[in-house]
Symmetry: C2
Subunit: 198 residues, 2 copies
């Protein structure tokens, strides 16, 4: 059985302050107190995994071992059907060393050209690791279509070219609350909450 995280102290294995704050808010109702890997001065391991789940696992495991506390990591990205799932786990790396998502979005649009299949999925993998080696993982997805040109100024990453199924606006045109209801990260967190906060 997955161990409960209720009222635990939890390391968020991320050096992104915005992500740490967002996760802290999501888990506050369960009495979880979060601390970031950056705050603890933990190193960032190389993401050598073959999948979103494997990368989330290696980040969570490294943080849990180093901190001696349970740790949560996420790994996420965009998988385009007609590109055989690219950019996938390389989603951030398509932006180059400067993590330039305007460049990354243009690369997706160019690779896709006028291919009739525009279908894509955002994927979010979450891993919770305990210092004794126990680990639990959760994956969430949301399906949509790639649009061009990019639309909207909210969100981040590939949000401006991703229009979720059943909607006529992109993730970057949605209010945060609307996106948070249907995002891949929300889907993964629902699964995590069901397993870790019984």
């Amino acid at each position: 059985m997955t161990r409960s995280l209720a009222n635990a102290e939890l390391v968020i294995a991320s050096h992104n302050q915005g992500k740490v704050r967002e996760i802290g808010e999501l888990l506050a109702p369960y009495g979880v107190e979060v601390v970031s890997a950056g705050f603890l001065g933990l190193p960032e391991p190389e993401e050598t995994g073959a999948t979103f789940v494997a990368n989330a696992e290696l980040k969570a495991r490294a943080a849990a071992m180093a901190a001696g506390l349970p740790a949560l990591a996420d790994d996420s990205g965009l998988a385009v059907e007609a590109l055989n799932g690219d950019p996938g786990i390389y989603s951030a790396r398509w932006g180059g060393p400067g993590k330039d998502f305007d460049l990354a979005m243009r690369k997706v649009a160019e690779a896709l050209g006028d291919h009739p299949n525009r279908r894509a999925r955002f994927v979010c993998a979450l891993a919770v690791a305990w210092p004794d080696g126990e680990i639990a993982t959760f994956e969430g997805t949301v399906a949509g279509d790639i649009v061009w040109p990019p639309r909207g100024g909210q969100g981040f990453g590939y949000d401006p070219i991703f229009q979720p199924l059943g909607h006529t606006i992109t993730f970057a045109e949605m209010a945060g609350d609307a996106k948070h209801q249907l995002s891949h990260r929300a889907d993964a967190f629902r699964k995590l909450v069901a397993a870790c906060f019984p």
Copy 2:
């Protein structure tokens, strides 16, 4: 918390008799009785997911709903680093409609050419779905190198061109027991057993 599967009746969401038998043997010590989706006449859903986990989830969910029993599905494949993770979730499809793995292995070798990075990972995702919608997933991996020409007559799929790290023989040259100790499927089942048979 993940619900226990101890002494449960479990549908294996596969039409591959060999796979159903192997899983049945793995789970027999836990009092689990398995029945195949093929035996129950359940349809095979289209594998439209963007990841191994997503495909395992959709197969497990479809079987659990149709049978009204908990169901287990697996989705697995080979991810080659220098090919950006290809063939990945398309590993079986690279063999064409006849599922010809001699063809699929040749495609991998041709795509890889003389690239100096031969690193690859087998990935296995397992999903257990309950008829009420609860779902738990587990992913296992094993790292190795792509060799050419293929070697060995045991195993199946890409086994003859996959040499696990720290070994000098391919998966297809290993006795079943040796492979079963270190395979991606064994890794995923260890995680499943830890969560579902407390």
